[in-house]
């Protein structure tokens, strides 16, 4: 039964009772954890959308000086893609009940994410070294804020990754970690998409 039909029911009619009285209470065919993550992703998406809207709103004025994006960001993007791919492989392994595959690919995913974060810091360093301080120009401030916010979300993801990793090394069965691996992977893909959107915004507009 889709959501719209559920909202069209007439609860005051007793004839409907036989139809609906036994239905289990779920609205969507999703586990609580998966729905919880999706709701959270929507909230995060709103945060980034508003920041991007603010960026565009400011950018249309004539006194805008774009930040010269360090070439390192291209490399970081590739590393983040690797990270996402590795997490995806971990998820596939989890579905196939291969605990060794889960372990290896989880390690790889987390490792690439860490390398990405270090790469971002190096990119910051490069900008600061050439005098593009946050306080000098709104464009610089936006660059630092957007990348920092994305990085903070990735660090949050690494906390979840670390907890999953701990479960795997403790020897929890694949069945127990499957949901954690899946949630991590979805979050990783989501942050990759956010990064691609941010990067594109700063490159092309």
């Amino acid at each position: 039964m889709n959501l719209l039909q559920q909202l069209m029911e007439k609860p005051w009619l007793t004839e409907d009772n036989t139809v609906v009285e036994l239905r289990d209470g779920r609205t969507f065919a999703l586990s609580r954890e998966k729905l919880g993550l999706r709701v959270f992703l929507v909230v995060v998406m709103v945060v980034f959308s508003l920041m991007m809207a603010a960026y565009i709103e400011r950018k249309v004025f004539s006194d805008w000086h774009s930040v010269p994006l360090p070439w390192l960001l291209w490399l970081n993007t590739v590393i983040l893609v690797f990270s996402s791919l590795a997490m995806h492989r971990a998820w596939i392994s989890a579905r196939r009940t291969e605990i060794d595959g889960v372990r290896v690919w989880l390690y790889a995913g987390g490792f690439f994410a860490l390398v990405f974060l270090i790469g971002q810091l190096l990119a910051w360093w490069e900008l600061v070294a050439s005098g593009y301080y946050a306080a000098v120009d709104p464009a610089n401030a936006f660059f630092f804020m957007l990348t920092a916010l994305h990085g903070v979300h990735l660090i949050g993801g690494l906390v979840a990754w670390w907890r999953t990793m701990a479960k795997v090394t403790r020897g929890c069965g694949v069945v127990l970690v499957r949901i954690s691996v899946e949630l991590c992977t979805v979050y990783w893909h989501f942050l990759l998409l956010i990064w691609l959107a941010l990067f594109a915004l700063m490159l092309f507009t």
Binding site: Q6, P11, W12
Partner: protein, 602 residues
Amino acid sequence: MVDAVQDQDDFVPPAEVAEMELYHPKSWLTKYVFSQDAKVIAIQYSFTAIAIGLVALVLSWMMRLQLGFPETFSFIEAEDYYQFITMHGMIMVIYLLTALFLGGFGNYLIPLMVGARDMVFPYVNMLSYWIYLAAVLVLLASFFVPGGPTGAGWTLYPPQAILPGTPGSEGGIVLMLVSLALFIVGFTMGGLNYVVTVLQARTRGMTLMRLPLTIWGIFMATVLALLAFPALFVGAVMMTFDSLLGTSFFMPAISQFGEQLKYGGGSPILFQHLFWFFGHPEVYIVALPAFGIVSDLISVHARRHIFGYRLMVWAIVIIGALSFIVWAHHMYVSGMNPYFGFFFATTTLIIAIPTAIKVYNWVLTLWRGNIQLTVPMLFAIGFIVTFVNGGITGLFLGNVVVDVPLSDTMFVVAHFHMVMGVAPIMVVFGAIYHWFPKMTGRLMNVPMGQFHFWVTFVGAYAIFLPLHYLGFLGVPRRYYAMLDTGFIPESAQDLNAFVTVVVLIVGAAQMLFLYNIAVSMIKGKKSGPNPWRATSLEWQTPQTPPGHGNFGPTLPVVYRWAYAYGLPDATEDYVPQNLAPDQLMSDYDNSGLSHSAAQAAE
């Protein structure tokens, strides 16, 4: 009961639907302090919110003392006055009303009313409260830093909010912004729980359209809050950077006392957009739970099913959606394109339609109902009246041409206090009188409650009707003192003094309310499990107050909506949601059940 149900239908999952593993507290500390039980968290939220709300109440007395009797109280300087209005507004809107409706009532009622053991992520729920408490403490800390709390007005508009000269620009504003960011992080944790619990943890038979309207109101308000608070979060983070790191997100090139400041290139209007993109939905974050709760209070205490249930649900959803496209009506005087203003005026007026539908439905629920003038009912009726009053002045202010002359006058103050101050607080009181017996097992004292209602209700009108009038005269808001102002008659000052006296009386009545709570908790009359003879699940728990896990060994199964009241054939005039049809037959020996239920629905 459950077995009989299974016989009728094969593909129903076994007796317990999505039974969750409950966390069982092992020590006193994890049972009452770091508790993961939504009921305990709800009470922690409520007490914290009421405590900080009392601070805001005292601040409002100080403001009124200054306005009613200027140049009398030497301890209220102009700076203090600005700090009082700022903190009063912010605390009342966010730290009291939002936290109490969603963190307090949401936590207590959602699991009980949908038939769940607890929230779906209890640990995250516990974190939510502790982060909220941290936000409150950071806010309170700002009273004790050099320069005191921020005096920028609750809208915190830059550039003045962070420039020297505004009270609290030294540390107060940063603590305010940090506190808001913390509040939002904490709320998001709670909000995830409320949304997922309502969507996925309802008991068997509790379809979306059988949810009590209280749950619909809290659910939709949570959705709004999850989508709107990020705007405030973004604004707060950016302004913190402006204040601490010297960035210029919101700060234009500006000179002060002939000296060019380091800022340049920011957009103050951008902050206004972010703030009001949060700020307008915030009105409905407070109003929608009030709408939902008041619907249930009216239905229970008028012994009549809610009129137009489906339309009530849809109206809640539509109001929620519309509230995101009206925000710029708070910015008519910021110099916007007239077509832009026209668009926002139109959407603002459209939102009156679903709201009016709700008001009509409340009144039609009362119509020919068996109205019991209990204390919760008094407050519910008080809500309808004040809400209609405040709503209608909202229609004035929604029109650009009317808003521009009235903007920043006392008329605006009167309008929003009526519509989102007094009206929701009426529902808060009604709800406390209504659910207090479930939380404590005792009834609150009725004469004290009636006295509390009449003083609050009449007092609210005695306070805010004069403010409308002062607004028409052109008395501006946020002014520390009027001094010699030719266009305002001197008698306006008498009116201000009158308002101040009433404020102090109404404030005293709230102390009586707190006294009533304290006394009734210990010595109140025992209420039994269901003193109001209500149908919804929270009144059907095996223990009162509900024990750990809310319900007995099995979760209740729901057979009907929550509004089966006033059934003429039954010996009782109501049927609980979880009473099985076969039990109903044997209990009442009454073949006309479907007949009577159909009559109830007419």
